[in-house]
Structure formats: C-alpha cells, structure tokens
C-alpha cells in the first residue's frame, strides 16, 4: 500500500518536473539544431543559429541595453532595498508588514497595466523614453524582492553585535560598513542578482517604457512576430542563461527558499 502510493507520488513529481522544465529544455536543445524547423527528429547539431545571432545587426545593441539596464537595476534596488529592509527590521512588526505589503503592490498588478500607466505618466510629464525610464520602472517592481529577501535575513540578525561596535565607539556608518554589511553581504548580492534576473527577463514593461531601441526580450518579440528563425532560440537560451544563471547563484548565496 505504502510502496504503491510512493510510486504514484514519484510519478506525479516527475510529471511536474517535466511540465515545468521541458519547454525550457527544448528551447535550449533547438538552439543547437542544424535545420530550420524546430521539430523532431533532430538530424544534426550545429552552431549555425548562434552564429546567425552574432551577425544579427540588432543583437549587440539589444544585448548591451539588457546588460546596462540589468546592472543599473541590480545596483539601485540593492542599495535602496537594503536600506528599506534595515529600516523595516527595526520597526514594530505590524507596521513593517503593512509598509512591506504596500511596497509589494506593483508586483501584484498585471505588468501590462503597470507598463501602460507608466508610459502615459512619463509622456505626460515630458520624460523622454529610453534606458533611464526602463531602469526606473524596473526598480519599482524589483525593489520589493530585494526588501523581502534582505528583510528575511535582517530579522534573524543579532542587533547586539552592532550595539557592541557602537559601545566601542564606532559611528553608525562605521558600524554599518565594518559589522552589518560584511554579515549581510551575501544576501544583498543574492538579492541584487534576483533584481537583475527580473530586469533582464522583463518584456512587457520594457516594451512600453523604452521608446525606441531594444533589449533582448523586445528583440525576440520582434523576431517572433516577423517570422520564425531558430536564432530566436539562441537569443532565448542566452536570456535563460543570464536570468536562471544569476538566480541559481543568488539562491546559493541567500539560502532563500520562499
């Protein structure tokens, strides 16, 4: 009886894993196919679609934009989010959770609504659309993740180590840089990587707030809409490499598990 139910649950687990991962795995596999059609049987492996990606004129500017935006978003939301997390950790629990819920609202909203609301706002206040407006928009939905992750670490943080540094004559800033930061550094870096992954992955909000120009996802969108080439799979694999890669490192650093 028990052995049978174990087998059933095992099958369910495998089914879940296949459902979650197979589309992603197929995308990666088909970026190395030698044919134009993305289907079976795969007749041969080649790097031709990766080569085609490299010579696609719009690829390099889009790649550069994605990296610039991702790094800026990581940096800004790490600084801003860490400050907020420290502030919230020192507040009464109830108040902190209300503020946190408010700051998380932009994540709850459908990205389309956020994107078009930001677009009409930027245009109305005469802010020129471009990389800066994308970065601002991304920080808005990335900072709640940084706050959540760093806050989870800060509430387990023993305030006495900072107090003893202060008693020994350290200024608040000195205490932060010599005591607090070294302890929470891995978590902050991990949270920054998550912010970067979210930013590089975002399509909808970027699409509405970038004006002209491309990031990798908006380039992929253009290519999908104008006709399929497996070069899309190569760029998609690159996006996955950047986002899932940084998430994996982040999970190692933060030990954050939900």
């Amino acid at each position: 009886m028990n052995a049978r139910s174990n087998i059933v649950w095992g099958i369910v687990a495998v089914a879940f894993i296949v459902f979650l991962l197979s589309p992603i795995v197929l995308l990666v596999v088909f970026s190395f196919t030698s044919r134009t059609l993305t289907n079976f049987p795969i007749e041969g492996l080649s790097l031709r679609w990766w080569q085609e990606m490299m010579v696609t004129r719009q690829f390099w500017p889009a790649f550069a934009n994605s990296l610039i935006i991702g790094l800026c978003v990581a940096l800004v939301s790490a600084v801003v989010g860490t400050l907020a997390a420290m502030g919230l950790a020192a507040m009464p629990k109830r108040r902190a959770s209300i503020i946190m819920a408010l700051l998380t609202l932009p994540v709850m909203l459908p990205p389309l609504v956020l994107g078009v609301a930001l677009l009409s706002f930027y245009v109305t206040i005469d802010l020129k659309l471009g990389l800066p407006t994308v970065i601002l928009s991304h920080v808005l939905f990335a900072q709640p993740f940084v706050i959540l992750i760093v806050h989870a670490r800060m509430v387990n943080f023993d305030p006495r180590v900072v107090e003893s540094a202060r008693d020994l004559g350290a200024t608040p800033l000195q205490a932060f840089f010599t005591v607090t930061l070294p302890i929470i550094r891995p978590v902050v870096i991990g949270a920054a990587l998550i912010a970067m992954a979210l930013s590089i992955d975002d399509f909808i909000i970027t699409f509405f707030t970038i004006g002209t120009g491309n990031t990798l996802p908006t380039l992929v969108w253009g290519m999908i809409r104008t006709g399929l080439t497996p070069a899309v799979n190569a760029i998609g694999t690159l996006i996955l490499l950047l986002t899932i890669g940084s998430t994996v490192i982040a999970l190692q650093l933060t030990r954050y598990r939900g």
Binding site: L112, V113, L140
Partner: protein, 277 residues
C-alpha cells in the same frame, strides 16, 4: 532619534513607490475619465469610456474573466498538489522540487510562451515526435491556437507563483498536527480537507490572486498561442500604441482590475466557508 532614522532608511523606497506607482496610477484613473478627440486628450470628465467598455467590449471582458478564473483555479489546485508533494511526500527531494520552482519563477516569461508555440504547432515538437514514433500519421491541428493552448501556457508560467505562497503556509503545519488528526481516526481526505486546507487559507488565496491578476492582464499568450482569441489585454495594449486612445485603455484596465478584486473576494469567501465547516 534612533527611531526617526529608522523611517529615513525606508524613505528612498517610499519615494520611488510614491513617484512611480501612486502618482502614475492616480493619473491613470484620472485619464480613464477623459476622452480623445482628433488625437488630442480632452480633459472634460466623462464616464463615456466606461459606458463604452460595458456596451462594446463586454464579451471580451467576460471571456477574459472566464479564462483567468479557470486558469487560476487549475493552477492553484496544481500548486496545492505540488506543495503537498514537496512538504509531506518528497522527503529530501523537497529541496530539488523547490529549487526547480524558484529557478523557473525568475526567468523566461516570453521564452516560455514562445516555447509552447514551437511545441504545439502543426510542424511542432509534439506533433513531429508523435509522428516519428508512429502514433499518429498526420499532425493534430487543433493543439495550437485554441483556448486549451492558452490555458496550458498560462498555467505553465504562473505555476511557480502559485506554489510559493501555498508551500510557505504549508511549512507552518507541523507533522505532529497531522499525526494527531490521524491518531484520532481521521482518514486521508478528512485530514486534507479539515486540517491542511484551513491552515493554508492565506497561501491558497494569495496563489489564486497572483495567478488571476497575472493572467487577466496578459496579452502575449493569446497573441502567440491563441490564434484569433482575444483577451482584454489584447485590446488594452494597442490603445497605448497605434490606436492611441489612452482613456479607453485606462477604463478597460480599471474595469478588469475591479473584476479581479470581485472574483478574488468571492474565492476568498469560498475558501473561508470550506475551512469553517
């Protein structure tokens, strides 16, 4: 002194939130009461856009709510099953399952939808694999560009968002609670229904809300795998591009958000009722 500096630390985040969220959303609500005339915004307040939404786009709106409700229910159910598996049945494999959910959470929104397009197409992965194995002789043409394709794709990218809140609340249930119920003679189903589900209420509602909102506003999935299917997002997006009718687009968005709040509230009542019996 110490206390005030605590609030200053939150100030940068709060400023970003106020300037880039509160202000744009307030403006967005305002715009929904304006009108476009000759490609200019007329700021005379009117409820004409809302009347327009109810008169002309009602079927798209109700179709969207139906798809979002179905997807959110199914995904929450799957998310619950996954969380149950990870929490109570998987043992040390729980870490692996959770890891997979987390890495699929943060990456590949557009690529996942695109992958389903290549999987379900006539000359796609599924049909070609089935034909190569000799199971079918001609492609099943109804896989792509159907409501089922839309729902499966939406479920795929929203499942991780459903798992996390439910798993988080399941982690709060101790093994001893479940054992106590079993010792008192409760069978498997009663334990699930009267012990586990009530303890996961907030997680279940959060999962449903996440998925419903994400799906209700999605326009990429219907475009890529839905064929002629139109969801409200497909009507909203062009209002901010080629069609240039911000007020109408804003009104559509707000009606959709209000519908979402109503459905989520009803779902919450349902879960609370279940838990009370």
């Amino acid at each position: 002194m110490e206390n005030r500096s605590t609030y200053w630390l939150v100030a940068p985040s709060a400023l970003i939130f106020a300037v880039l969220f509160i202000a744009p959303m307030a403006f967005f609500v305002l715009v929904s009461f304006w009108q476009v005339e000759y490609f200019e915004l007329n700021t005379e307040p009117t409820i004409g856009n809302y009347r327009d939404v109810f008169a002309n786009y009602w079927h798209v709106m109700s179709f969207t709510v139906a798809v979002a409700t179905a997807t959110a229910l199914l995904t929450t159910l799957l998310g619950f099953a996954f969380s149950f598996l990870a929490r109570f049945r998987a043992g040390e494999w729980a870490q692996v399952l959770l890891f997979i959910v987390l890495i699929t959470l943060f990456g590949g929104y557009l690529m996942k939808i695109y992958a389903w397009k290549t999987i379900l197409g006539n000359e796609g992965v599924l049909n070609s694999a089935l034909m190569a194995m000799g199971i079918i002789s001609s492609p099943i043409t109804s896989l792509l560009y159907s409501p089922q394709a839309v729902v499966v794709t939406l479920m795929h990218f929203s499942l991780p968002f459903a798992v996390l809140p439910i798993y988080a609340s399941m982690r709060g249930i101790s093994d001893s609670e479940v054992e106590a119920a079993r010792d008192l003679g409760a069978g498997r189903w009663p334990i699930l229904s009267t012990v586990i589900v009530p303890r996961c209420q907030s997680g279940i509602v959060a999962a449903f809300s996440f998925v419903f909102l994400m799906v209700g506003g999605d326009y990429v999935t219907p475009l890529l795998v839905g064929g002629k299917l139109t969801m409200i997002g497909n009507l909203i997006a062009p209002q901010f591009g080629a069609q240039f009718n911000w007020p109408l687009g804003a009104a559509m968005s707000i009606v959709m958000l209000i519908a979402a709040v109503v459905v989520i509230y009803l779902f919450r009542l349902l879960v609370a009722l279940w838990s009370r019996q």
